[in-house]
Amino acid sequence: MTNPAAIRVNGQDEPLAVATLADLLAGRGVTEATRGVAVALNGAVVPRRRWPDTALTPGDFLDIVRPIQGG
């Protein structure tokens, strides 16, 4: 990771410009009321009620997922 203040979101590095997970998701149009989205921070699921008080720090990696067509 070249930028020391970067985080990795779904495999892509990006600058860390927000304080909390809820802020990051809000920037992508996702709120606690959005159905069908789940997030793991550093390999552990963060329940949606905890998004607002989950602080992000440089080097974190996030998986943001949702259901798609599957068999």
Partner: protein
């Protein structure tokens, strides 16, 4: 179909009752309209979905909402762990799916070979144990192997889902004797998963004693998916009825159907 029979023949898995014994995948349809038509024609009450990292840019209509709206809540979702190669990946995917879809149900796939999409039994058993202990309703996709199926049931799997043939191959049921043996010995429902190519394959699965059939490509890649979905619905019902009716014994030689008395010229 004789509804008088089917009504008292509901399938129960982990305390949930299903009127339809056909579970259907949602992948690979030409478009969403065709998928929804096929789901409706199939009569299914359980549809599989995958869980993926996905760009949220332009995130609009969610598949969850589309399916809920189209089916009036009749179709529940069964998330899968397709594409996972290790127990660790599969467990995290299951935990994410539980959070995303608010369901503890999981179709557990742990793949050991990307070309064959064959289960990795060691990882599958490990993931099953971990997820059962974490409160999941685990439906593992597994080999058509009676020992593996027994181990999965012993670990607390809610059903076992042996493959009929490779995923997406449409080869049908390659080892009917193994499937029949698994069905005869399994303490939990057996769902034939993968390999179904056409309606007769689905009927055979049910005749062999399977409790349900899970399929996707046979419908999504049919020339007319909705019509094939209806054919699968009828095949599953017919195969189930035949299994319950008890088939006649197979004989090596002819056995006349007509009476042998009063033959002309006899």
């Amino acid at each position: 179909m004789t509804t008088a029979f089917s009504q008292d023949d509901a399938l129960t898995i982990a305390g949930r009752s299903f009127g339809s014994r056909l579970f259907l995948g949602t992948a690979g349809y030409p478009n969403q309209r065709v998928m929804l038509d096929a789901l409706a024609a199939s009569g299914t009450e359980l549809a599989t979905v995958a869980i993926r990292r996905i760009s949220l840019d332009g995130y609009s209509e969610s598949l969850v909402d589309v399916l809920a709206q189209a089916s009036g809540g009749r179709i529940r979702l069964l998330p899968n762990t397709a594409g996972c190669l290790t127990a660790r990946e599969a467990v995290l995917t299951a935990q994410l799916s539980r959070e995303a879809l608010d369901t503890p149900w999981i179709k557990l796939e742990v793949i050991g070979d990307r070309d064959l999409l064959y289960p990795d039994v060691e990882e599958l058993l490990r993931a099953t144990e971990e997820l059962v202990n974490d409160g999941f309703v685990v439906l593992p996709y597994c080999n058509d192997d009676p020992v593996t199926c027994r181990k999965l049931a012993d670990l607390g799997a809610a059903a076992v889902m042996p493959l009929g043939a490779y995923i997406g191959s449409g080869q049908g049921i390659r080892n009917p004797h193994a499937i029949e043996t698994i069905c005869a010995r399994s303490p939990v429902p057996v769902v034939l998963d993968a390999g179904i190519g056409t309606a007769s394959d689905a009927a055979l699965a049910m005749e062999l004693g399977c409790s349900a059939v899970l399929l996707n490509t046979a419908v999504s890649k049919a020339r007319d998916p909705a019509r094939m979905a209806a054919a699968m619905r009828d095949a599953v019902a017919a195969g189930r009825a035949a299994h319950q009716a008890g088939r006649m014994p197979v004989r090596a030689f002819a056995e006349p159907s007509s009476p042998q008395l009063g033959l002309i010229g006899g």
